[in-house]
Amino acid sequence: MSQNEQVRYYKPFVGPFDPCPPILVKSYSTPPQLFIPFQPPNWPQFSPHEALRYGTLWPALFSSYESKRTKKAEGEGEA
């Protein structure tokens, strides 16, 4: 599982009175469209079948969404 460069992490505040075990590291996804104000014309494209698989016609806009369920080793929950 390569480090997905579109995922960013932050450490939420942990108070002393939390009733449940705190989640120390949380993550959020930053897909490419956040950084592209207006899509330029004539971008390279996927083939139809690839586009169906990737979920977008343009590789530059592809954003993978790995399940967070399996990825515990990344320190997702711990410090």
Binding site: P41, A51, L57, W58
Partner: protein, 87 residues
């Protein structure tokens, strides 16, 4: 044993699904880029390809859509399985 469809059926549907997705993407793109002639050309080409695939499918397996948007053989094929969710 219930009716089973051949692999050509699934291949055609997969082709149709892929080309439809490309058309949706191009349509959304053209909403914001109405003057992009290359995209319009590609859109029209894909629409033509989609029509061909749909024609191939319908000539072999029956109508894709009802209410007059597709032709039907006799007996009326619209009621035949598999329905989209049964494919």
């Amino acid at each position: 044993m219930s009716k089973t469809m051949d692999s050509e059926f699934y291949k055609l549907l997969h082709e149709l699904q892929a080309i439809d997705f490309v058309l949706v993407e191009l349509n959304l793109y053209l909403d914001t880029h109405p003057n992009d002639t290359n995209a319009i050309q590609q859109y029209n080409h894909c629409a033509q390809v989609r029509q061909q695939i749909a024609y191939n499918y319908e000539s072999r397996y029956g109508p894709l859509k009802n209410f007059g948007q597709s032709y039907s053989g006799t007996p009326f094929q619209w009621v035949d399985t598999p329905w989209p969710w049964q494919v």
